[in-house]
Amino acid sequence: MLLSVLSGFLLAACLPVIGKQIKGNLSILLSALPVILFIYFLSFIPGVANGETYHFTYNWVPQLGINFDFHLDGLSLLFTLLITGIGSLVFIYTSSYLKGHVYLDRFYGYLAMFMSSMLGLVLSDNIITLFIFWELTSISSFFLIGFNNDSEASRKSSLLALGITGFGGLFLLAGMILLGYVTGSYSIVELMGQTELIHNHPYFVLILFLVFMGAFTKSAQFPFHFWLPGAMKAPTPVSTYLHSATMVKAGIYLLARFTPVLGNHEYWNTTLIIIGGVTMLYAAIHAVFRLDLKGILAYSTISALGVLVFLIGLGTDDALLAASVFILVHALYKATLFLVTGIIDHETGTRDVSQLSGLNKVMLPVGIAAILAAISNAGIPPSFGFLGKDLIYEATLHYGDWAIVLTVAAVLTNICLLFAGFLAGIKPFIGKLPQKYEKLHLPSPLMYIPPMILAGLGIVFGVLPMIIDSPLIKPVAAAILNTSPDFHLALWHGWSVVLLLSTITIGGGLGLYFILKPSEGLLAKATRFEPISPMSIILRCTRIFESTAKGVTYVLQNGYLRYYVIAILTFLSVLLAYKIFKGIDLYVNFGKLTEITLYEAIVLAIMAVSIVFTVFTRSRLVAVAAMGIIGYSICLIFLFYSAPDLAMTQFSIDTLTVILFVLVLYNLPKYLKLSDTGSRVRDGMLALIFGGLISLLTLEVLNEPLEREISAYYAENAYTLAKGKNVVNVILVDFRGADTMVEIIVLSIAAIGVFSLLKLRLKSIEKE
């Protein structure tokens, strides 16, 4: 199991090495991986259908309770099948779609990475690993959206997508940690048993908020939906795979997975119904006004995700069943439509729906796939979509007081979705073929077979619902409901209100399709509201954030060393002064101090004179030399108090410092611009205050009882344990050797920094 999850990462890691060889016609071989995984996960169907769940544990960081705990139940199984199944088709499709692309190997690497992350996400039982895989999907999505990295729009969109989903991911992490804190467990299976505890905990609302933020950003819910249309800058296979079939459903998966844990609570249901409802209507209406095929599909995807959130929000058995079915329905028809759009784009070079018509005459198989998908999307019998839609109406109709409002919202959404589906799936293929497209030919079968398979399944599952009823859908609903439900999918439910609603939907959608012709004018009308859209508002907020950050950075990181030193010293002085004058009883025990010897007095006198020189001299060299004398005097004091190691080191360091200063000063212009009296007085005051505080601190430390345990330990064990008699050195190279190791690494980094900064500047000067 671990291997199956990680295999994509392994493949991605191998590709930089073997990619060059495989880039040509062999690239289709890479599709073997998702196909094998698909078959592997298919083999779990009989077991899962019998109500079994599989659990696999691999230790990772057991100390922190973070392990690779994989849990396979109906819900995970449905998602793994979608991921590997659609993944296989997308892999195959890509080998032809991006044939001969320079970075094809890179593309497959990202795709494989994504597939693994997504598998890990839906199989994780441990919520921390779930989060890690969650973020990995965001990261691979970032690479895939920005795949055409020479286009600025692509780069911007990918950054936006990463920003939104990554931002939400952090909320999710916080939510997961809180959940772990509240329940003491990071395992979803264990969390399910503690619903009562979680619901009554004061943090429940916070957890709910955090988890929702994660799910809503990932699944493009209002008001975070706007990254998804931007993500359509990615090559079409990516849009198919990530941004309609799998990744954007991660949020849905999360909500479904946590329904038994957090669900069935007033807040949970209300929030999800409102957000899901707003999203599905808002996006569906938006979809109607788009001209770009991928734009239409993007908004209808958002709308579909809204429907799913809405259904999970309803939370009744009917609704959750409808959600389970709709996940599959949507994945099948939307992936088909995306793949078809890719073919249209690939062959005609345009995605403007008002330009396209009659393509059936040149690419019939593609047209058939598209039309079948549009039918499933529209919910026209006998498609699988019809089944899905019936279940949705069934769910809204039985939702107590609000049934009518919810049903109306669902019907309106579905009418718009039907229109969008027809626009994307039927409009380009029927009618008169424009002259310029007459020479088009059918693309490689590698490209049109995958959408045909998906579209075909959409009809087969509709006609014969029993093939997926108990093996697949029932375990999914069971996992979400945490009980085993009793139902049977069927195409025909008899004459009922639901059927009437379906008819209204189909009628309304068809009516809209014949009345409304896509045009520039409609698009312009829709874009008029741009300034008040969530996207502009959030982007404006980020801009304010950016400029504030810039301002703050400018104040704090102004590049003047003197201000940094002032800031550090002021802060330390205030902190020290507060602590010293607030909490400590100040007194100096003069009896404890030793007498001042003659040597010490002389050294101190030398230091005093040097300090006066340093401060008042008008020559830089004198100032530096005087500083050196102060340093040497301190070495002498170290020697008096028997610290020869320290004295020696200090001595060498001071020598080198003076040399460095001289080197730099030697090359500076001769005249001296001394700082003005004001700043000198200010600096002097600060220095006096800080020095005074440190002296006070030192005197106070003498009053504290000395902890001699540590130094005694080192002194005793230096020879027995480390065979050295010089305790200082033994500490450096043995007892605290790891510290020394890090220090020399830091030193090296500093040297590299100096070297590269100076040399780099030299080079840029040379260029001019």
């Binding site: 020869p644 190691d645 020696m648 080191t649 060498s652 360091i653 020598t655 080198l656 040399i659 460095l660 080197l663 730099v664 090359n667 344990l721 480390a722 065979k723 050295g724 008699k725 010089n726 200082v728 050195n729 033994v730 450096l732 190279v733 043995d734 050797g737 790891a738 020394t740 190791m741 020399i744 690494i745 030193l747 090296s748 500093a750 040297a751 590299i752 100096v754 070297f755 100076l758 040399k759 500047r761 030299l762």
Partner: protein, 136 residues
């Protein structure tokens, strides 16, 4: 600073100071000294030489860029640190040869660690000083 006396003295001082630096390095385990101070002294030796004869001459003596001493030193220290892992000890456990080596005395992994520190310090100091005096 290119007086004849200083120049002549510097060419004698260099080997002497380097020997002194190594002496300081080796005695560190028992008496005041160690890799860090030793490295600084060695660096000072080269700096004095470069003051007297110009950096080009000093570079001629070292033959390679002093920056290369950093990775070598780091590698040596790292090897000394992880060597005990292969004999079953914890990281940074001291490993010692059974018998003392003439002149140097007991030799163990701590000594190699110290030599690593020594090389890194020489490399870092010389890289910084050479770069600054060359570019400014």
């Amino acid at each position: 600073m290119k007086t004849i006396i200083f120049k002549t003295a510097s060419s004698y001082l260099l080997p002497l100071l380097l020997l002194f630096a190594i002496f300081i390095l080796l005695r560190g385990h028992y008496l005041p000294g160690g890799g860090f101070v030793g490295g600084l002294i060695a660096a000072i030796a080269f700096v004095i030489h470069s003051f007297a004869n110009g950096i080009e001459k000093t570079r001629g003596i070292i033959k390679f860029h002093p920056g290369f001493l950093m990775p070598i030193g780091l590698a040596l220290a790292l090897i000394a640190a992880i060597a005990p892992l292969f004999t079953g000890g914890a990281l940074m456990t001291g490993l010692w040869f059974e018998n003392p080596v003439p002149v140097i005395g007991m030799v163990g992994s701590a000594l190699f660690f110290d030599i690593g520190v020594f090389l890194v310090v020489v490399g870092v100091t010389l890289t910084i000083i050479f770069t600054i005096s060359e570019t400014i």
